[in-house]
Amino acid sequence: MSEKPLTPADYRTNVHNNWCPGCGDFGIVAAIQKSLLEMQVRPENALLVSGIGCSGKTPHYIGTYGMHTIHGRSLPIATGAKIANHELTVIDVSGDGDGLAIGAGHFVNFGRKNSDILYMIYNNGVYALTKGQASPTMDKGMKTKSMEEPSIKEPINPASMAIQCGYTFVARAYSYDINHLSSLIKQGVQHRGSAFIEIMQACPTYNDVKTKEYFTPILYDLQKEGYDAVVKNPSDANEVREKKLAAITKSWETGAKYPIGVFLKVDFQTYEDYLKEKMPMMKEKPLVKHDISGIKITHLMEELTF
């Protein structure tokens, strides 16, 4: 295997990009590429999984292994891949409809597992690829130019929900702040366990309310203000609870000040750690790297013999 230093070109593809001009997704792709390069994750050792919608096209533009999958189903697909080869860096990206409407059950249950995957939701409040319907994160009373009537449903707060579902690294980012986002992606990848980043992504075509002009004056960086998101002693149930409650409160800040940065980080045993304890083969090396020829089942037959 060649080990020459990786360059930005290693993370690109020649696939024609058909996102709208000015789309926040360009910033996200750049941030993913930047963080992988900075961590020197070899392209063959990374797997990028996505669902359906504009966000779903992300893997086509990044030179790692990629899977552009089914609407709402990227998380279960990513978890299967991670168990097959736990040495892969697995990043899952999806839209707010993808992850919080059709895939909400997976979003909830993935958090519970603390599997070592980074999950990111591009949150723009709309279903853009199907021409601007409201997504589960759209504010109540909000109406974009493509809607007939304002939304009359309460929005989901993805970061808050992630904390409650058990994600052990929860952050919020902004798609036009590539440096900040790529720093969070690095932290999310390096975090051992299920990491979640909500990316506020302005859709220039269908969301004419939450625009660049809307976000720029209100965003502030939690860590720059000294917010401490890290649980010092993960076995202290009290501290964990206090930190989670504080993080939830922070994630609901709105109005003139809207926080980005890390809400919560706590280090627990990962799902893969548990599986390695159970399966000697997985502890030795990833399941995919084992030879499966010539397996004998004598012991299984003997067990049923009387």
Partner: protein, 619 residues
């Protein structure tokens, strides 16, 4: 008259009352004596209280099905007696708690029993017996009545008690030694009571040939269920990831694998729904391990988007579809063969797939193994179509042969392969339609897969010509499957070529059909039987050849519409004139098939509908 080594035994009682454990003990002790056993269970979708029963047929020759006849009934409650009295064999006996159950013989409400002067009642003093097992200061556990009744069964049958003891010790080997000791004591008490009080009164006898002492384990018999055999085949194939969402009757596969997870290095994941099951299997298979999920109809409904994705992205997955009656929740714990069309056409669009149909435990094992080779060689989903009856019924079986079972992982694009080629296209157009797949982690193999139609490179394309190329490529693989998995392997023919009647069937009806053929032969009716083992690719030429040479064609199916007969008509143009169907949620017994076939021979109806309790309707 003594009937030697041919007994149909049944235990019935409230769910959760110990029917299964009692039947387990009875069946295993019979196997330990070298007898052939077939056992099947009927239960409700209920945790405690509803009536359930377990039939165990112990026989001197090779049997593969149940009969609707009971020689010895162990009744854990009076409902069992009332429910099953009608199917008692003449001379049969009913074992029950004579101190708890008062059968008023003059009461006309005790249907069947009062009218049956030809059966024997064995009211055992079970409470007294159980109490006698305990010391003065101990609280008797009345569940031991079950063990006493099983012990008594063997007393009536004059079986060798050492085999009963051996079996109890084997069954409870992972519990405290006192548990086995106590159960042995209880069984012995029942055994002795029967022998002392009813010596020579019961005409059925069981005799061990003591094969245990003569034969090594691999020459002896397993007592195995289809679901276990399927799981064993998958383990043999190198299964590493199994996902499931709990559903009857597929869950036992997951439980079996979970029990052997560490030693077999298989991870069993209980997901949040069946969508996640199939999708995580896709993720694992894409990343290079052999992965599988199993479900029943309602869960398969949820899996279809994953099935289509697997077909379009050419990801090798295996899905076990263990059928039960539908639509909707249907009858969750019962038997049906009604998902064959569903499996064939499941999902939108046209997508190649392989559907393999085992008919017995040996085929469950073989197909459980081979499905992975086919999935990986041809990079498409393989559905294994089984059902409740095959999955959950016990049968004695020889050890499976592990000869000639080689793992074939198909074309893999390694780093060396890609270097030599100079570039890599995941969906490269080839003559066979198969493109070498790169497993994530392989240097130089990076590609993007997508559920959109795509180019050879894997990027989204809606180009008309690309579409034609890709559709042709994916369907070309089906021709390759046909070569690798030829028609000879997709059908089996039993019986003489020249026969009075020709039976066509698929799946779990196999055992009852084969047993029925032997019974018919004794009555002078010669039948042969075509078993279809694959719905896709369909063995059209072989099926047509068989049908063309048949005198009287009868299809037997455990569903309402005789679904396979429609598929046969579609694929071969041949109309099968006679159908025997059963859609009451219960499997065929061999004697019911004999009756059905005799009806067809006698009156030539186009359809015979069979049901439990001797139900028969001809159209």
């Amino acid at each position: 008259m003594v009937i030697l080594n041919r007994v149909c035994w049944m235990a019935g009682g409230p769910q959760g009352g110990g029917v299964n454990v009692s039947a387990d003990l009875f069946a295993k002790a019979c196997v330990a004596g070298g007898l052939n056993v077939f056992g099947n269970i009927e239960y409700n979708s209920n945790i405690k209280g509803e009536h359930s029963f377990y039939r165990v047929r112990a026989w001197d020759s090779n049997i593969r099905s149940h009969v609707n006849l009971v020689n010895l009934l162990v009744a854990l409650d009076s409902e069992t007696i009332h429910t099953h009295a009608y199917e008692m064999a003449p001379g049969g006996g009913i074992i029950y708690d004579g101190e708890e159950i008062n059968l008023d013989m003059s009461d006309k409400g005790v249907a069947g029993v009062t009218q049956r002067t030809d059966i024997r009642l064995f009211p055992l003093p079970l409470t007294t017996i159980v109490k006698s097992l305990y010391g003065p200061n101990e609280k008797p556990n009345m569940i031991m009545k079950n063990t006493v009744m099983v012990g008594a069964s063997f007393g009536f049958l004059e079986y060798d008690f050492s085999l009963v003891e051996r079996t109890i010790r084997q069954m409870f080997k992972n519990k405290k030694p006192t548990v086995a000791d106590f159960n042995v004591k209880a069984a012995r008490a029942g055994y002795d009571h029967a022998k002392e009080n009813y010596e020579g009164i019961f005409e059925c006898k069981l005799q061990s040939d003591h094969y245990y002492d003569r034969k090594s384990p691999d020459e002896r018999h397993m007592l195995i269920r289809g679901n276990e055999a399927l799981a064993m085949g998958a383990v043999k194939a190198g299964l590493k990831y199994y996902a499931y969402y709990p559903i009857t009757p597929a869950t036992p596969i997951a439980h079996y694998l979970e029990e052997h997870s560490s030693e077999c290095n298989v991870h069993v994941e209980q997901t949040e729904d069946e969508i996640a099951s199939v999708c995580s299997v896709i993720g694992a298979a894409h990343t290079g391990v052999r992965a599988m999920t199993s479900t029943s109809g309602p869960g398969f409904c949820l899996m279809l988007e994953g099935l289509g994705f697997s077909s379009l992205t050419e990801t090798p997955i295996v899905i076990g579809l263990i059928q039960r009656p539908g639509p909707s929740t249907g009858m969750p714990t019962r038997q049906d063969q009604s998902d064959i069309r569903f499996a064939l056409h499941a999902g939108h669009g046209e997508s190649p797939r392989v559907i393999m149909i085992p008919g017995d435990v040996d085929e469950c094992f073989q197909i459980g193994f081979e499905s992975f080779n086919i999935a990986e060689k041809f990079q498409m989903p393989v559905i294994i179509l089984s059902d409740k009856h095959l999955g959950e019924s016990y049968i004695t079986s020889k050890w499976f042969s592990e000869e000639n079972m080689a793992v074939d992982r198909g074309l893999i694009a390694t780093e060396e392969y890609i270097k030599k080629k100079g570039s890599y296209n995941r969906y490269e157009i080839t003559e066979s339609g198969i493109s070498p797949r790169a497993i994530p982690g392989t240097p130089l193999g990076m590609f993007r897969t997508t559920g959109d139609e795509h180019t050879e490179y894997g990027s989204i394309s809606e180009d008309a010509m690309e579409r034609i190329k890709m559709m042709d490529k994916r369907f070309r693989k089906m021709h390759e499957v046909e070569k690798y998995y030829p028609e000879e392997k997709r059908i089996k023919v039993y019986g003489d070529l020249r026969a009075d009647v020709s039976i066509i069937g698929w799946g779990s009806t196999k055992g009852a059909i084969l047993d029925a053929m032997e019974m018919l032969k004794n009555d002078g009716v010669h039948a042969n039987y075509l078993q279809i083992l694959s719905a896709s690719p369909f063995p059209s030429r072989s099926v047509k050849k068989f049908l063309d040479s048949a005198k009287k064609r009868i299809i037997i199916e455990n569903n309402y519409s005789a679904l396979m007969s429609g598929i046969i008509r579609e694929m071969t143009g041949v109309l099968i004139e006679h159908k025997i169907v059963k859609y009451d949620g219960r499997p065929f017994s061999c004697d019911s098939i004999v009756n059905g076939i005799k009806k067809v021979i006698k009156d030539s109806p186009r359809e015979v509908i069979l049901g439990e309790q001797g139900y028969e309707r001809a159209l």
